[in-house]
């Protein structure tokens, strides 16, 4: 069981390395976002979404500007 878990995590990390290369490829300025290993790197993208990205989409009316009275 431990071996299966280790293998799953290793695959997650290999997947993460590929993602980092893609995400960092357009970081052109010193202020640009940097991507690398985080506390979530051993999760697959699907596992990450299932665990942490659970907010439903909300919709709201378009902001119509500040009201000017008088």
């Amino acid at each position: 069981e431990n071996s299966a878990e280790s293998h799953r995590r290793l695959l997650g990390l290999q997947e993460a390395v590929k993602r980092h290369a893609l995400l960092n490829s357009v970081s052109t300025t010193p202020q640009s976002a940097k991507y690398g290993f985080t506390q979530f790197s051993d999760l697959s993208q699907e596992e990450f979404k299932d665990l942490y990205l659970r907010a439903s989409t909300d919709r709201a009316p378009l902001f119509s500007g500040l009201k000017i009275e008088g």
Binding site: L23, T29, Q31, S32, T38, S41, L51, D58
Partner: protein, 214 residues
């Protein structure tokens, strides 16, 4: 509008929290806005109970997910008083709703507004300055690997999946950006914060923007 504005400078933003393995971002976002607006109103900054919202906001699904709009609608309709975090601590698990007597001290929501500010992020800056920190939804798929810096790419709009709190902005540098508090702990990103470029609705940050009134 000031070129730079950060509600943390006014000591009305609570420290970064960690939702752990629970899909409770929506509750952290709503509570973050409420406790800041409470402090802006002159009260001492006090952490309110995320767990209370998680357990009791019945139209949401606790750790399985929820929405800012449903949580705020529930708070407005029921006028439930949110108690301090110390009285109803966070457990990162959905539990049974604890009720408190009407005389129990707490913070209730009076009203809220929610708008789509896409294409109008300057007006959204005004909303932040005028109303306090804003609860928003974003696409945070690429945030799994975010280490720091200003996000300008790899973030879609209209596919929101995560709720966070906008606490400030900075337009003094080459790239203007929003200062956003996340709920994944202080070791993630810029000490728990993420910076998102202003303009272009990056990550869908302007798609759904809620301000609260107490």
């Amino acid at each position: 509008l000031p070129a730079k504005f950060d509600w943390r400078d006014k000591a009305v933003v609570a420290p970064v929290q960690n939702q752990q393995a629970c899909g409770s971002c929506w509750a952290f976002s709503v509570i973050g806005a409420m406790q800041s607006v409470h402090a802006i109103g002159g009260s001492q900054l006090e952490q309110l109970s995320v767990q209370q919202v998680l357990d009791c906001s019945f139209r949401n699904e606790g750790c399985n997910g929820g929405s800012i709009s449903k949580a705020l609608s529930w708070l407005k309709q029921t006028r439930v008083k949110l108690v301090p975090q110390s009285e109803y601590p966070y457990k990162a698990k959905t539990g049974i709703c604890h009720f408190f007597s009407p005389s129990h001290a707490g913070v209730a929501l009076m009203n809220f507004t929610a708008h789509d500010f896409s294409g109008q992020e300057v007006a959204m800056m005004g909303e932040l300055v005028q109303r306090g920190p804003l609860a928003v939804v974003v696409d945070a798929v690429s945030w799994q690997d975010y280490l720091g810096g200003i996000i300008q790419h790899h973030c879609s709009s209209q596919y929101s999946n995560h709720a966070v709190l906008v606490v400030g902005y900075d337009t003094t540098g080459d790239i203007p950006y929003w200062i956003v508090q996340n709920s994944w702990g202080a070791t993630w990103g810029n000490e728990g914060y993420v910076y998102i470029k202003i303009g272009g609705n990056i990550c869908g940050i302007a798609d759904y923007v809620a301000a609260v009134f107490l």
